[in-house]
């Protein structure tokens, strides 16, 4: 049986070493890990939900501390906590109803209980939707035994444990839904492309975002013809990759430099960009360079549309962002070290070199500059984001989670 702690530290170390990057990937891995945590959690007979919440939170804190910049981790953790709280409440209402029926149902209940406990295969079948769970289980080679122990434990725990077990199965179902949501969020976003992109429009984007790519391709597939300006997104120049991909799809793409966005913005009908995280006030944390683009769009009253999935929704407010939530990346992305090695020379009398290179990964774009958020659950204006956050996260989880991140 794989030690859950090993899995947690594995993901944490991947996050720490920056080997997992990007909100989509981190969100998916975090959700899968939390699913395993819930699955293997041995809860006490009383107050199962509370101990589960505690367990998930502990894991979450480790993951968040591993790379505070990847906000998606915290988002998923908080969302899972929220799911647990919700599920914890629903049995209470169930129990009230159940009490009325309990007299007649008792025998049946036990039978049903035993049924599910005897064959873990059926438990598997009814608990978990096969394709999704398989994905989870690939990371857990011994998950079958995990299920076995979980169900056999329940045999001995008997009927008293029933509600807890039910809670767990409901939870697994909900978390699986979450994973599915994460996996399918791109399609959800792309579906709305037709409403936003019109015939013969000129779209401007910056860098490379998978959401934007899917969004544009979806419109193209529906026979919309339009052209795309791509700002190349220095220093990584991922815009070039996007240009290649769009070319394969038969879309007309024009590559410009980041610094040319203002010169080009007057010809553009709409700016569509992907972001790193959406903050609680409706502002976004985005690849460096987007703030300039947003200001240019504002100046020319070009709509600035942000495509984001719900797992990018972050419950934090942006205070002191440039220090706390930025990642200073490697200067060699900007300068060739060999070329400048004589400038970056500390061995010569004046104790420190004069040339420094700063390479921040992110920008903060305030909500006033954003026209619309296109998410997998529909389009929203920046001022509505706080409502979405209330839907997605429980307020109890906010303060303790905020600590490690800030």
């Amino acid at each position: 049986m794989p030690d859950i702690q090993a899995l947690v530290s594995d993901l944490a170390s991947k996050l720490r070493k920056r080997r997992v990057q990007g909100s989509y990937e981190t969100a998916r891995l975090t959700a899968e890990l939390l699913c395993a945590v819930i699955l293997q959690h041995k809860e006490p007979t009383t107050n199962g939900a509370a101990s589960l919440i505690e367990a998930v939170r502990r894991v979450g804190e480790q993951l968040i501390a591993a790379n505070p910049v990847e906000l998606a981790v915290g988002n998923i953790v908080r969302h899972v906590l929220h799911i647990i709280r919700e599920e914890d409440l629903s049995p209470l209402t169930d129990i009230v109803g159940e009490l009325k029926l309990s007299a007649e149902d008792d025998v049946e209940d036990i039978a049903e209980d035993e049924n599910s406990q005897k064959s873990s295969a059926t438990t598997d079948g009814c608990l978990l939707k096969p394709p999704l769970l398989l994905a989870v289980f690939e990371h857990l080679p011994d998950s079958a035994t995990a299920c076995q122990t979980f169900s056999s434990e329940n045999i001995f725990a008997g009927k008293a444990d029933k509600s807890a077990k039910k809670l767990k199965s409901e939870l697994i179902k909900a978390v699986n839904e979450l994973i599915e949501d994460i996996n399918t969020c791109r399609e959800g976003i792309a579906e709305q492309a037709m409403e936003l992109i019109h015939q013969n429009e000129v779209i401007l984007t910056l860098g490379h975002s998978k959401f934007v790519k899917e969004f544009l391709c979806a419109a193209k597939e529906k026979k919309r013809s339009f052209e795309v300006f791509i700002a190349d997104g220095a220093p990584k120049f991922e815009g070039h990759i996007l240009a290649k991909e769009l070319d394969k799809k038969g879309l007309k793409a024009i590559v410009i430099t980041d610094s040319a966005v203002f010169a080009m913005i007057s010809r553009v009908n709409m700016v569509i960009v992907g972001v790193h995280a959406v903050m609680a006030n409706g502002g976004v944390i985005a690849p460096a360079g987007l703030h300039v683009l947003a200001l240019a769009a504002k100046k020319h009253d070009v709509p600035f549309v942000v495509v984001a999935s719900t797992h990018e929704l972050c419950s934090l407010y942006p205070h002191n962002l440039e220090v706390l939530l930025n990642e200073m990346r490697c200067p060699s992305e900007l300068l060739n070290f060999e070329e400048f090695s004589d400038c970056i020379d500390y061995g010569i009398a004046s104790s420190s070199s004069l040339l420094h290179v700063v390479n921040p990964a992110f920008d903060y774009v305030p909500p006033e500059l954003i026209s619309l958020f296109v998410t997998d659950i529909g389009g929203y204006s920046p001022s509505y984001i706080y409502r979405l956050i209330a839907d997605y996260y429980s307020s109890e989880d906010l303060p303790p989670q905020q600590k490690p991140a800030s």
């Binding site: 060699s332 500390y346 004046s350």
Partner: protein, 732 residues
């Protein structure tokens, strides 16, 4: 016999390796990490702690190497421990490296190993390496990706079984200053085949004074193209095939990886083993070889060139550190006085206390240090649990764990304080000194020792560990020991190591302190010299051999560059001229040649005119003659023949004057025979329309105010000048 044995062994190794090429491809990548550099550069610190465990920006060095190996996809690492092996093994056991899921770290321990060669021989005997492996020492910091280099290596290996090693190199600035100030190493020369990237020549100890390197002429004969580099830097990361280990076993005299193994392979043409290079571009790789590279690499890490191996990323279980504005890294629970000024590019470790009005800049402070008030720390490396009392000054120094500096003590640049040293009140430690609790081991007078730390250094290191405890205890109390050592102020504990003979000169090269101004100018002068040598070389090349007179060398001793240049230029022109006369070259061609010389030496046409005239006169005087009149006749002939050449440089009156002055000079110095003929030859020149009367008159006017001695020739040609003057007046 030896060669035969070698061949047999290599064949056996090859057979073992090439059993199944597909199997090889699936083989997980292995690495050998040498946790001992087999040098003494980091003494006295390395007497008490192995080099790989020395903190580099508050993280023991070996972690950078291991983290990189893990990221580069290495599955199994053999850490070879020698000196202080127990410390290394203990450290690794308590670290998280032993519990990584897809990354195994195994230690190999040995105490009687004295070189990298021995270590590899031992590993070969253990028979643990089954495929290609990465050979690296535990003091290398890199963030490069191995994928491409590995791929290239494997493909080459498939085609050519003799391609046993791929050496990772990196471009660097060719200037010796940069090399010196960045790495503290000498220049490195490599010859690489530009097409196949095969390494053909490797020289890291080039003799600078000569400014030349010697290449085997076979190298040029055998290779269609070859490019020589002095702008490459060796990263000391090698991808090796298993044959490398057997090669070390066969050649039991190989000790040093580069000096013996690489050079040995390059010279050995019987086996035909080849080494290739792979150049990395944007990624970082450097090895910490001495105190200077320790300083430079630390600063590169703080400037994030090694990303993701930077202090605020927890790549190896290091403490959480936050990056703040202006490149300040701060761990948690730091107590800092409000009035303390912590400057940019500084790292401050967990739980350190900083007193009021202290100034810290460009430094790394370890964990749990206590820094008093009014302390000045600049460009220094303070390790853990150091106590620095009020008013101390530290500039460009390394201070190891547990050192106590009493109030007012001053460390001059380049000082290294080893573990637990105590510096007394207001004591000033002189620049570049090294202070340790351990006494300096007696110096063995063998040159070899410093080269590759042989027997003695290994054993000394080992015995001194055992001695550490009692020695340091004894010191605290014993008065007698203080008698024969320089005291470190009141209450000071420790020995100041004497710098070994000849070391004084070299000390600045490898120290953490910046290179002093005078050495810098020396270096840049040396660079100019180099350039001069180049021109000198070209002189030697462009003229045919016989014409380089011995005087060339003696004249080269003149230190004034410009004069040197003009002397060389004159020689060149003369040689060209003589050749032209001998071989009957057309005048036009000579003009062309002289013009090209003029361009390459950056001379004016007046210089050309002077030089050409000088050569003509030289020729005249060399032509056999019995009397002055005959000499005059010869001169007239030569002038007539070559007047076109001379005229092509006489564009203005200034050049004509130059010729007269030159002639005057010759008559006074090198060709005294001409002196009685001065006026007559002047007349010939006038007749041939080479000199105009204006020029002669101007020259005469200029000489008017000169000393009597200078007027000899004006006097001599007074008549002629008089005549000229009258003629011009008549014309008027």
């Amino acid at each position: 016999m030896g060669a035969q044995k070698k061949r047999a062994a290599a064949a056996a190794a090859a057979a073992r390796v090439s059993e199944d090429p597909d199997d090889l491809a699936r083989q997980p990548l292995q690495a050998i990490l040498l946790a001992d550099s087999f040098t003494t550069k980091f003494r006295p610190i390395t007497l008490e702690r192995p080099k790989v465990l020395l903190p580099l920006v508050n993280v023991p060095m070996i972690n950078y190497t291991l983290a990189w190996l893990e990221a580069a996809g290495v599955a199994e690492v053999f850490v070879f421990c020698c000196a202080h092996s127990k410390q290394v093994i203990d450290y690794l056991e308590n670290s998280e490296w032993f519990s990584q899921p897809n990354f195994t770290v195994k230690t190999i321990e040995s105490h009687n190993i004295i070189s990298a060669g021995d270590a590899l021989r031992l590993i070969y005997e253990q028979n643990v390496i089954h495929g290609d492996f990465v050979l690296i020492s535990g003091d290398t910091v890199s963030n490069m990706s191995l994928t491409q280099a590995l791929q290239e290596h494997k493909e080459r290996k498939k085609k050519d079984n003799n391609a046993v090693m791929t050496m990772i190199i990196k471009k660097s600035k060719p200037s010796p200053i940069t090399r010196q100030s960045r790495l503290g190493t000498d220049e490195l020369f490599m010859a690489i085949d530009p097409n196949t990237k095969q390494l053909l020549y490797y020289e890291d100890k080039a003799d600078h004074s000569k400014g030349t390197i010697c290449l085997d002429k076979m190298l040029l004969a055998e290779n269609p193209s070859i490019s020589l580099h002095n702008d490459k830097q060796d990263c000391y990361i090698d991808i090796c095939s298993p044959e490398v280990l057997s090669l070390f076993t066969d050649n039991f005299d190989y000790q040093h990886l580069r000096r013996h193994f690489v050079k040995g392979l390059l010279l050995d043409d019987i086996m035909g083993y080849k080494i290739f290079t792979h150049e990395i571009h944007s990624s970082y790789a450097a090895r910490i070889d001495n105190y200077r590279s320790y300083d430079i690499v630390s600063k590169d890490i703080i400037q994030r060139w090694t990303y993701p191996y930077v202090p605020d990323v927890k790549f190896c279980g290091n403490r959480a550190t936050k990056l703040e504005r202006r490149g300040m890294y701060r761990a948690l629970e730091i107590e800092q006085s409000r009035s303390a000024q912590v400057g940019s590019f500084t790292v401050i470790g967990y739980g350190t206390k900083i007193g009021s009005n202290s100034k810290i800049s460009d430094s790394v402070i370890g964990e749990g240090c206590t820094i008093g008030s009014n302390v000045l720390i600049e460009g220094s490396y303070i390790w853990d649990n150091v106590i620095i009392e009020d008013g101390c000054e530290l500039r460009h120094v390394i201070v190891c764990d547990g050192v106590i500096m009493k109030a007012g003590a001053v460390l001059k640049p380049g000082v290294v304080l080893s573990f637990k040293v105590v510096i007394g009140e207001r004591f000033v430690v002189p620049a570049y000194s090294k202070v340790s609790l351990l006494q300096q081991p007696t110096v063995h007078d063998s040159d070899e020792e410093l080269e590759y730390a042989d027997n003695s250094s290994g054993t000394v290191e080992f015995s001194s560990i055992q001695g550490t405890a009692d020695q340091s205890n004894g010191e605290m109390t014993s008065e007698s020991s203080e008698a024969h050592k320089p005291k470190l102020g009141t209450g000071g504990v420790g020995y100041i190591w004497s710098i070994c003979e000849g070391g004084q000169e070299e000390e600045w090269r490898h120290s953490v302190a910046p290179i002093p101004e005078d050495k810098l100018t020396e270096l840049s002068e040396a660079m100019d010299d180099d350039q001069e040598l180049v021109t000198q070389d070209r002189t030697a090349l462009s003229t045919s051999g016989e014409l380089i007179s011995d005087s060339n060398a003696s004249e080269g001793d003149d230190n004034e560059d410009s004069k040197d240049d003009s002397v060389y230029f004159e020689k060149e022109v003369e040689a060209t001229f003589l050749r032209a006369v001998e071989e009957n070259v057309k005048v036009d061609h000579v003009i062309l040649e002289v013009n090209s010389l003029r361009l390459s030496y950056n001379m004016t046409s007046a210089d050309c005119a002077g030089a050409v005239f000088y050569s003509m006169m030289k020729l005249a005087i060399k032509t056999p003659h019995s009397s002055a009149s005959e000499l005059q006749q010869n001169t007239a002939n030569i002038i007539t023949t070559w007047q076109k050449l001379l005229k092509s440089y006489l564009l203005e009156i200034d050049e004509e004057i130059e010729i007269i002055l030159k002639f005057e000079e010759m008559c006074l110095e090198s060709a005294k025979e001409f002196s009685p003929l001065f006026a007559r030859i002047l007349h010939i020149l006038y007749d041939k329309d080479i000199l105009q009367e204006d020029a002669i008159l101007r020259w005469a006017d200029e000489k008017e105010g000169a000393d009597e001695s200078d007027k000899v020739f004006v006097r001599q040609s007074e008549k002629f000048i008089q005549w000229l003057r009258e003629a011009s007046e008549e014309e008027d």
